[in-house]
């Protein structure tokens, strides 16, 4: 990726936040591209099934455009087919999607995180790198589209607060785009999370979801069965590709990921909670266990 070089050279002179904003948007779009592909593939079956279920193109589009939550959209199709009334479908949707409460909390915290000290630290790292003229100690970080060091140095002085362009409107829009996938991509960003970056990522993902839905509705039936069946892997492949570079770098990451997966499997077997909450419980409780375990280890 040569983006970092370009960004590093350009940034110096661009007077403050316009250049930064553009940079954040650009990085958000880049980060969102794999989700766009994944969502495009994942939403083709939705359009296809909706059409098969006798739903109009407009309504199919509105499902994806207004709800924008995969699992619950597929569920709604099933329930409609089974003749379940709207009220119950809405309730079930709430149960499935209330998990985003937790994801939004994490993202809001990350946006809010007044990481002055972190930014300061990274800026220092940048200066060191510049002085010694070689990349940082870990080298370029694979899987992440922005290694972040060149820019953070110049981000520091103008940005003490919680991010450029953080208007209320931006927050309202960014909240709409919170999904499992945008969440996963946003929290794995090592640089500070900004509303613009998040929104750009989400809009990119959203466009994949919408175009895939329409494509599926119009053309899905023409696809060979194997092609349709192979689309389900896309998002998992993306998750794996985000995770692998982290696993290479740290052993705790491996334990945490596998631990959460095992715990999630267990919760699904037990069937005590809805699917959405199984996921959240696995994520949150494993992270709590991890921060307890590794936190204490550090103190010793």
């Amino acid at each position: 990726m040569n983006a970092k070089n370009r960004a590093g050279q350009k940034g110096e002179k661009t007077a403050c936040s316009v250049g930064q904003n553009r940079q954040e948007v650009r990085e958000g779009i880049r980060r969102g591209l794999p989700v766009l592909i994944g969502y495009f593939s994942a939403s083709i079956p939705f359009g296809l099934l909706a059409k098969a279920g006798g739903i109009s193109l407009l309504e199919t589009f509105l499902f994806s455009a207004l709800v924008f939550a995969g699992a619950s959209q597929f569920m709604a199709l099933n329930l409609l087919q089974a003749g379940v009334v709207a009220g119950e479908i809405i309730l079930a949707t709430f149960l499935v999607n209330s998990r985003h409460l937790v994801m939004s909390t994490v993202l809001a915290a990350r946006l809010r995180e007044n990481s002055l000290e972190k930014v300061e630290e990274e800026a220092e790292k940048t200066r060191e790198v510049v002085r010694s003229g070689r990349p940082g100690p870990e080298g370029p970080e694979p899987g992440r589209l922005e290694p972040g060091r060149p820019e953070t140095g110049r981000l520091k002085p103008e940005r003490p607060g919680p991010g450029t362009g953080s208007g209320k409107l931006l927050t309202f829009l960014a909240a709409f785009g919170v999904t499992d996938e945008s969440f996963a991509l946003a929290v794995t960003r090592k640089k500070r999370l900004t509303p613009l970056f998040l929104l750009a990522l989400e809009v990119t993902a959203y466009s994949g979801w919408l175009t895939g839905t329409i494509t599926g509705f119009l053309l899905g039936a023409a696809l060979p069965a194997e092609a349709r069946a192979s689309m389900g892997i896309a998002l998992y492949a993306m998750f794996a590709a985000i995770l692998i570079p982290e696993l290479k770098k740290s052993r705790p990451a491996l334990f945490l990921a596998v631990g959460a997966g095992v715990f999630h499997t267990l919760l699904e077997r037990l069937q005590l909670f809805s699917a959405g909450w199984n996921l959240i419980l696995a994520i949150v409780l494993t992270a709590i266990a991890g921060s307890y375990f590794y936190g204490r280890k550090k103190e010793e």
Partner: protein, 102 residues
């Protein structure tokens, strides 16, 4: 036929949980323990998003799903970027399904 009311209802109950935390959390400082907890979230989230769901990624074909996932993992191990693993995994699954038939 679903009516627009259903879609509007689903949209509302989906959006509200997404939005509330952004409104409630603004302007608060976070305790360090919470920040440490946040730092672990990416790993646990990815683990739980992949396992066990990936088994069902290709309905009724767990081994094909795992082969697709492995393809993505191997590529991601050697190269950076997310797009190639995604495309290659889908391609691998497609080829396996064609090869295995129906």
């Amino acid at each position: 036929m679903p009516d627009l009311l259903l879609i509007a209802g689903m949209a509302a109950v989906t959006y509200i949980p997404r939005l509330l935390p952004f409104l409630l959390l603004s302007g608060r400082t976070l305790p360090p323990a919470f920040k440490r907890f946040l730092a672990f979230i990416p790993y646990t989230a990815l683990g739980a998003l992949i396992i066990p769901g990936v088994i069902e990624a290709v309905p009724g074909r767990p081994w094909v799903s795992l082969a697709g996932l492995a393809t993505a993992a191997v590529i991601a191990w050697y190269r950076q970027g997310l797009i190639l693993p995604v495309v290659a995994a889908a391609g691998m699954v497609f080829l396996l399904l064609v090869w295995l038939g129906g």
